[in-house]
């Protein structure tokens, strides 16, 4: 009886549940890297570290301009590498989840596959 319940769940509700669970996990990873936000703020100063806009002299304005430019550059590189790292993580996670979803119906049959391979005498 337990086995019937197990198999009937595995090939119906279980599969759907697994897909939902994986998509939630993927959502968390997307949120953790928040790539759209990193893209939106790609050229913003890094943690707003830059001189305050005080004074109206040309010297002061040039100082502020270059200070901000450096901060923006630092910000750009920090965010750029985070975007790359994020994309790699997301792709790896997505592929892993996809493979698991495809393999899902075959997992309970793993012992049968094992028996077939054993009988066939396959070795590495």
């Amino acid at each position: 009886m337990a086995l019937i319940y197990f198999f009937s769940w595995w090939y119906t509700r279980g599969w759907g549940f697994f897909l939902k669970q994986m998509s939630e996990k993927l959502q968390h990873i997307l949120d953790a890297f928040s790539i759209p936000n990193l893209l939106k703020t790609l050229f913003h100063p890094f943690r707003q570290i830059s001189a305050n806009e005080r004074g109206r002299t040309i010297d002061a304005k040039i100082y502020v301009f270059f200070d901000k430019l450096v901060s923006r550059l630092v910000g750009f590189f920090a965010r750029f590498f985070l975007i790359i790292a994020g994309i790699i993580c997301i792709v790896i996670a997505a592929v892993f989840f996809l493979v698991l979803c495809i393999l899902w119906p075959f997992l309970p049959l793993a012992p049968i596959a094992g028996i077939i391979l054993t009988i066939s005498g396959f070795t590495l």
Binding site: M1, A2, Y5, F6, W9, W10, R13, G14, F17, Q27, H28, D31, A32, F33, S34, I35, N37, L38, T41, H44, F46, R47, Q48, I49, N52, G75, A78, R79, L82, G86, L107, P108, A110, P111, I112, A113, G114, I115, L117, T118, I119, S120, G121, F122, T123, L124
Partner: protein, 796 residues
């Protein structure tokens, strides 16, 4: 159809889950999976084809725990509306085949939700066994009712607690049963909701929230100085639970804040409301709400910092330094771009006194130009004061008024906070009655706060007075007694039916005569105890008119002893000390100004007889001040705190018209007639205004004492002397002619029976004292006192 089918898939899976859903079973599968994995790896190295069988089995053994957890234990629902789909897993596991109502109730009582109701609402198993006629309720009807309750409360399932409440609702005259437990049906419904609230709290606590991730703070600046003096409220709710919000108007306040901070106008808000109204909770909810990307994309990365103003003021040596620090903090907030600065108790920044500093000159321009986002929380009084000092302030800020919570909202807030208080109290269980009592007493005795703060403060104190692991209404009463020095009276003993039914004879144990006044007072108090009285007035209000020494004060003391279990519960105010207009403020002074004022004394001892002696001598303004007390049972003290007299008996005494009473009675008029004539005359003579006399429940006229009454009074006085001598085992007997002599010598028409105690002291007590000291009397002796003894003693 709401009949239970034992053989449905969900019911079977629930039972299977009970068998398999154990850690030992999970461990069994995982250990085998590991063993097969290890064996497979070894065989693979050994180039044996058996390795594949081992790997296959290792994979297979990993799968069942996943299935057990997510299908059998979580037991998801399908889309049908069958009974089995609505029943909770716990109930499905317990229900037998073809259960009758008794079996359903027995199993339901074992469920967690029913145990919750048992602990917090006293719905215990024996009560259900005795009261619910299980044989008369069909199982189908029981499940139908339980389903209706679950639907009405928007519950995810029908569980044991819901079934128990349904069974009570199907019991004839259930209201009577619940009333005996000081409960009603809405309270029980509230109990089920309370249980599910706690269940959801535990579930959601572990639920991950998508709140921004790495990019969240990368674009925004550091705020090092601010971090020294402020707490990041938003950080508390990142990827974590949300604070709850049960007050409807406060939900609107949060929406208003979201609109203001997402809009294009000045992004600042002053939350104006009394202390305890939940202003901080609104800000915390706002902080949590904006983390949710669905609320507002614009606000998603805003962080709320609560400035610890006290620490800031304490760390600086003077105004200049504080202004400098604040300036730097404002600069940091401006540069960081994502900070909303929360100035809690903002009055600190608008007044110059100990622990506060007026920086309005710095703050108002910032609010006006809208350069940085600010939330102020402040009470209305301080807001008005700040506005009157700086009219620009009012126009520079968006105002949101925070309303106090009503009864139901307060109870919901208390239920909400109960896990926190229970945790703090080392897991005492807070009962429903404790919540209701915290609301009732909080509104009466916690000053300077409003709901829900009043009730929360009291409940937090009450958990320290838990009895046998339960926080009950008595714990709350004890908290009031111990923390505020207010003596609480057990309502049960105060309204003890037998005592009230025999109130006249109880009072006559120490008061002789005055049958008419005693009856009037007793009738009034019985009406009050039976619930006929208006709860928004004192228990009883009486004015006693009559000559001195006829028992007016004695009746007040006797009432206190009988009704409040002790003569010490009399608050006596001699109104001949309140003869000037300015004395009103002394009468209603706050305890910190004058602790013997009427309001201060009643605040400490709300269950008392308030004896307002010689009321005719008080200044008319004093009497006017007392009108509200008599009418509504409250007075406002000099600090505008509301002081309740609703648990007190008010007795005013007056000698006004004493001579007329004597004259009318001696002319043969009856007491009732005398009362009417006297009242007319007192009003006519301007002694009292009609609106003052009309405020009293009863006007009682005390008649002069007769000779028979005086003989009884002598008996009472001698009985009290015997009482004093009882420790020495000495008894005295006074001859009747000796008593008559004592009455003759002791009675004074002007002073009534008052000198009689003195004459007994002078004669009887002196005679005994001399005999005891001379050694004429030994323990166990009986002393006979004759008329001659009294004469001899008086002549000495």
């Amino acid at each position: 159809m709401n009949s239970y089918n034992y053989h449905t898939s969900r019911a079977r899976r629930a039972r299977l889950g009970k068998v398999l859903g154990h850690k030992a079973v999970y461990a069994f599968f995982y250990i085998f999976a590991l063993l097969f994995l290890a064996a497979g790896t070894y065989l693979l190295i050994q180039k044996s084809p058996l390795a594949w069988l081992c790997f296959g089995l290792a994979i297979f053994f990993v799968l069942p725990p996943y299935w057990i957890r997510h299908d059998l234990v979580e037991l998801p629902k399908n889309k049908t509306d069958s009974l089995e789909n609505r029943l909770s897993r716990e109930l499905l596991v317990r229900l037998p085949k073809n259960p009758d109502t008794k079996a359903i109730l027995t199993e339901s009582l074992e469920c967690q939700s029913a145990i919750f109701l048992e602990n917090r609402y006293g719905i215990v198993a024996p009560l259900i066994d005795i009261l619910v006629p299980a044989s008369e309720i069909k199982p189908e009807d029981l499940f139908t009712k339980a389903s209706e309750i679950a639907t009405s409360l928007n519950l995810p399932e029908v569980d044991g607690g819901t079934v128990i409440v349904a069974s009570i609702e199907l019991t004839p005259n259930y209201e009577k049963i619940l009333k005996s437990l000081k409960l009603d049906l809405p309270a029980l419904y509230g109990g089920i909701s309370w249980y599910y609230y706690l269940v959801n709290l535990t579930k959601n606590y572990r639920k991950y929230k998508n709140t921004g991730g790495i990019a969240r703070d990368l674009s925004f600046g550091y705020a090092n100085l601010l971090s020294r003096f402020a707490e990041n409220i938003s950080q508390k709710y990142v990827g974590n639970y949300s604070p709850s919000l049960n007050i409807a108007s406060h939900k609107d306040n949060v929406k208003q804040m979201i609109d203001i901070f997402s809009g294009k106008g000045r992004q600042n808000v002053a939350l104006i409301g009394a202390n305890g109204s939940g202003r901080s909770n609104i800000v915390e909810n706002f902080a949590s709400e904006i983390l949710n990307s669905k609320t507002s994309e614009k606000l998603r990365f805003r962080q709320i910092f609560r400035l610890d103003a006290a620490a800031l003021v304490a760390s600086a040596s003077g105004r200049g330094q504080i202004e400098g620090l604040m300036n730097e903090i404002f600069n940091e907030v401006y540069a960081a771009k994502n900070i909303i600065l929360w100035l809690d108790n903002a009055e600190i920044f608008f007044e110059d006194q100990t622990g506060a500093i007026d920086i309005s000159n710095l703050l108002i321009p910032i609010l006006e130009n809208g350069a940085i986002r600010i939330i102020l929380t402040i009470d209305e009084q301080h807001f008005l004061e700040a506005s009157s000092k700086n009219p620009r302030f009012t126009n520079s800020i968006n105002r949101i008024m925070v309303q106090a919570a009503n009864h139901d909202e307060t109870i919901a807030v208390l239920q909400d906070q109960s896990p926190y208080f229970e945790y703090k109290s080392q897991h005492a269980i807070i009962t429903y009655w404790a919540l209701e009592e915290a609301y009732r007493l909080g509104s009466k005795y916690i000053k300077d706060l409003v709901m829900p703060g009043q009730a929360l403060t009291l409940l937090e104190m009450a958990v320290n007075y838990a009895e046998e692991g339960f926080v009950t209404d008595k714990s709350v009463q004890q908290a009031v007694e111990k923390n505020f020095g207010i003596k609480m009276q057990s309502t049960q003993s105060a309204t003890d039916k037998k005592k009230l039914l025999d109130l006249e004879s109880e009072l006559h144990k120490r008061l002789i005569g005055q049958d008419s006044a005693v009856k009037a007072v007793s009738d009034s108090l019985r009406r009050s105890a039976a619930g006929v009285r208006n709860q928004n007035r004192p228990i009883g209000t009486f004015i006693f008119l009559g000559p001195t020494g006829v028992g007016k004060t004695e009746l007040a003391k006797a009432l206190s002893e009988t009704y409040f279990n002790g003569e010490q519960n009399v608050i006596r105010i001699d109104l001949n000390e309140y003869v000037k207009e300015e004395d009103v403020s002394r009468l209603i002074a706050d305890a910190s100004e004058y602790d013997m004022s009427l309001t201060a004394q009643i605040s400490k001892q709300p269950f008392a007889v308030v004896l307002l002696d010689e009321i005719e001598k008080a200044h008319p303004k004093v009497l006017t001040a007392l009108l509200q007390l008599l009418d509504e049972g409250i007075l406002r003290d000099t600090k505008n705190h509301e002081v309740s007299f609703r648990d007190a008996i008010i007795i005013a005494t007056s000698n006004a018209g004493a001579n007329q009473i004597r004259d009318y009675l001696s002319s043969g008029k009856k007491l009732d007639e005398v009362k009417d004539i006297l009242v007319e005359q007192l009003i006519h003579d301007g002694e009292f205004k009609p609106e003052f006399l009309n405020r009293f429940d009863e006007i009682c006229v005390f008649e002069p004492l007769e000779k028979d009454d005086l003989m009884k009074i002598i008996d009472l006085i001698i009985a009290s002397v015997n009482d004093n001598l009882s420790s020495q085992k000495i008894t005295i007997n006074v001859d009747n002619d000796a008593k008559a002599l004592l009455v003759e010598k002791g009675y004074d028409p002007k002073l009534g029976a008052r000198p009689m105690r003195r004459i007994v002291q002078k004669t009887v007590e002196n005679i005994i004292a001399k005999r005891v000291l001379a050694g004429d009397v030994s323990s166990g002796a009986e002393i006979q006192i004759s008329k001659q003894d009294i004469i001899d003693q008086l002549e000495k």
